[in-house]
């Protein structure tokens, strides 16, 4: 499943990225590394972006980018 489908209250592990090398590199630099813990904190009003926590750091990301992060429930 992708990070787009994450549910509140559950912790997920990042498994892989379905993205080109530039986006992949960017995500890894920001701390979205394989096996990192990912958690959904908040969806925006129109549900087009999310607040997620990666190893304790909170980011706002768009659903298009979340679609590129493959996760599995921990």
């Amino acid at each position: 499943m992708t990070a787009n489908n994450m549910k509140y209250g559950l912790i997920y592990n990042i498994v892989d990225f379905n993205a080109d090398i530039v986006i992949k590199r960017r995500l890894i630099d920001l701390g979205f590394r394989k096996s990192s813990n990912l958690q959904l904190i908040k969806r925006s009003i129109l549900k087009a972006n999310f607040l997620v926590s990666v190893d304790g750091v909170v980011y706002a990301i768009r659903k298009e980018l979340a679609n590129k992060i493959i996760v599995k429930e921990k």
């Binding site: 590199r25 701390g31 904190i41 925006s44 009003i45 972006n49 750091v57 768009r62």
Partner: protein, 685 residues
């Protein structure tokens, strides 16, 4: 001279450290992307000169945004000593950058900042020292008094050593591992900066392939080492609790509107208005009489007297009483920036901004434009790409900056009640027009999607009292310098034009003056908007230099005896040279809100976005200003209530925005990606 570069992730406290080391007051804030350019300052410590360099925040040596490219290019050009700042809450991410600095062969000292908020155990610090073989210091930069150890870095071990680097280093003849590692990471832009020949590049690639080294291995090597040093941290619960209220789907927008209305109420109606009237009474009202009496007693030249009383006292003095309101506005902006609420607003509004081809990051530029759009435009460099930067810079001009504040305050006081609400509505009009312009730009060459938008959300923090005082003093001083400098110069020019004819003879009848000749040519353009008068036309032209000059020119032309009450009364009197009625006042305020950037904004835009986009920006601004002012004037002639006219304008603009939005949907329905070029269904189309 030694160069000390301050490097770290965004919002790790780099500029705060730079300010401490150099005793400066550069702009700081509790969100990523505040510093967008390289800042250098030379300081002397114990007879030695040091160049301190503050760089925009980076997450690695593979830049993604414009300001990250600026920082990385600077770093890779020289052999600097690095002060690497990191935060305990994002230690893993920070160490990823530290490792890359060591890989590139930089001399590094690691500072762990904000240790009072999130402590780092001694065990982790020892682990960092042991694994990276560099010096680590814990501190809280805001409170730290003695940072002199940073000028004695030669006493510490700065050349980090990490085991995995050697296997990459062996694949090339370079002294450090950055080239083979960047080849593994397929970062072509950075590889280009090393000017490698094709032969060299192929040789390194062959060696890397031989040793099975690639993107996956370098990521894994770094990850294993970082996981060895520290474990996952938890999220601040206080921030989470506050987010539950402030980002609640039903409460978020009402809370945001209440915050903005509160700021406007305090700035324009209650405290701001009170302080302004006190200053007006204390300084302005009596100054004119005292100076007039003094000049008469010493029998000076009549022309000189007129210049001093009209250009200097009436023109410039009329602006000074707005000082408290301008300072208050900057204080509120600083509080918003420091609290951590702005990035959350950016997250909330990204939903909406996305539909206009913008990202939530544009919000930082827009909010700062309420203070000064020229300095705010620089923050547009935090955008992910050049097109977004150009668009954000062009749109920032529609936000009402503090220089327009005196115009709104004076005209609202003269013609309307409920000033704060009306001024708030003008700010909304500015925002709505900027969204319309964004849609126009999105349909042309500046189309962007920003789908890779990522924004770090910091923890909430209390704005420091010390910073607020400094912001108030700095902006108050800048306003006075501006008034005493550029405003005074241009008021002198306007005075000359008003009092002399083309034969350079002093004229007592203003209809014989040069200003009348010039203003009369332009004035008919504004007749359909209700203010086709040569005085207003001249004020608008003078306002192209700086918007503050608009009100100074009107004050000087109306001979208002240098006080706000006099100026307000003169605007309603039909005998005055510059006068309005309710409809033309509304139309004039709308025109001033939108019509053109000031000269300093224009020169910055020319430098950053080029002449072509600057001309496009000016043309769009003038066209929208004219059309909307005409609309407002026509409605105001039909309806007597100003608030209803403005609310009607807002509703019409909102309808236009919604219609344009519904026509411009371009998201790929099969892959849900706005900039889809790769999905099979889209390709087949």
């Amino acid at each position: 001279m030694q160069t000390l570069c301050i490097v770290g992730n965004a919002n790790s406290g780099k500029t705060t450290l730079f300010n401490k080391l150099t005793e400066s007051f550069e702009h700081t804030g509790n969100f990523s992307g505040v510093t967008v350019d390289v800042m250098e300052k030379i300081v002397n410590f114990k007879n030695d000169n040091y160049k301190i360099v503050d760089l925009p925040g980076i997450y690695s040596l593979s830049p993604f945004t414009i300001e990250e490219k600026v920082a990385t290019n600077y770093l890779l050009k020289g052999n600097h000593k690095i002060i690497n700042l990191c935060e305990p809450k994002s230690l893993k991410r920070s160490l990823n950058l530290t490792l890359q600095l060591i890989e590139a062969g930089f001399e590094v000292v690691l500072l762990i900042n904000r240790v009072d908020k999130h402590c780092v155990s001694q065990k982790i610090i020892n682990k960092i020292k042991e694994e990276l073989k560099i010096e680590v210091f814990e501190l809280n930069i805001r409170k730290e008094k003695d940072l002199s150890f940073l000028f004695n870095l030669q006493n510490y071990k700065l050349n980090g050593e990490v085991d995995y680097i050697n296997k990459y280093k062996k694949c090339s003849n370079f002294q450090n591992a950055i080239v083979p590692i960047k080849i593994c990471e397929e970062d072509d832009e950075i590889i280009k900066t090393f000017n490698l020949s094709n032969k060299q590049l192929e040789e390194i690639k062959t060696q890397l392939n031989k040793n099975n080294l690639n993107f996956e291995t370098i990521c894994l090597d770094r990850q294993i080492l970082i996981d060895k040093i520290c474990t996952t941290q938890s999220v601040s619960t206080t921030s989470n609790k506050l987010d539950k209220i402030l980002l609640n789907k039903y409460l978020a927008i009402p809370i945001f509107l209440c915050v903005m209305l509160g700021i406007f109420y305090i700035t324009f109606s209650s405290l701001g208005s009170f302080l302004s009237s006190v200053l007006d009474k204390l300084i302005c009202q009596d100054l004119y009489v005292i100076l007039d009496n003094a000049l008469q007693s010493i029998n000076t030249n009549a022309i000189f007297n007129d210049y001093l009383l009209t250009a200097v006292i009436e023109g410039v003095g009329s602006l000074i009483c707005f000082l408290p309101q301008i300072v208050l506005l900057f204080i509120f902006i600083a509080i918003l920036e420091d609290s951590g609420y702005l990035p959350r607003l950016a997250f909330l509004l990204d939903d909406i901004f996305k539909k206009f081809g913008l990202s939530g990051k544009s919000l930082f530029t827009f909010v700062m434009s309420f203070g000064c759009s020229t300095s705010a435009m620089l923050t547009a460099k935090n955008q992910d790409n050049e097109k977004s930067k150009i668009k954000t810079m062009m749109l920032a001009q529609y936000m009402s900056c503090s220089a327009k504040l005196p115009i709104f305050t004076v005209l609202c006081s003269a013609f309307f009640t409920n000033n704060a609400l009306l001024i708030f509505c003008f700010y909304i009009i500015g925002i709505l027009v900027s969204l319309l312009v964004a849609l126009i730009l999105q349909s042309g060459k500046l189309k962007t999607t920003n789908d890779a938008f990522v924004l770090e959300i910091p923890f909430y923090s209390f704005p420091s009292f010390d910073k607020i005082i400094k912001v108030a003093l700095k902006n108050g001083k800048e306003f006075l310098v501006r008034v005493g400098g550029i405003v005074l110069i241009f008021m002198s020019v306007v005075w000359l034009l008003e009092n002399f004819n083309y034969k350079l003879q002093f004229v007592s009848d203003s209809s014989e003056s040069l200003l009348y000749s010039i203003g009369s040519i332009i004035a008919p353009i504004f007749t359909p908007l209700g203010f086709g008068n040569y005085g207003v036309a001249s004020a608008l032209i003078a306002g192209l230099v700086a918007k503050e000059i608009v009100i100074s020119t009107i004050s000087m032309l109306n001979h208002t005896m240098d006080n706000q009450a006099g100026l307000i009364t003169s605007l309603t009197a039909s005998s005055s040279l510059v006068c309005f009625d309710t409809a033309s006042a509304l139309s004039f305020m709308t025109f001033v809100l939108l019509y053109a950037p000031c000269i300093s904004s224009m020169s910055l835009m020319k430098k950053e976005i080029g002449t072509r986009y600057l001309l496009l920006a000016i043309a769009l601004q003038f066209a929208f200003a004219y059309l909307i002012s005409f609309f407002v004037y026509t409605f105001a002639l039909l309806l007597s209530n100003a608030l209803i006219v403005i609310i009607l304008t807002i509703l019409v603009l909102t309808t236009f925005v919604i219609i344009c939005l519904s026509k411009g949907k371009s998201t790929c329905k099969s892959c849900n990606f706005s900039a889809c070029t790769s999905c099979n269904k889209c390709k087949s189309k």
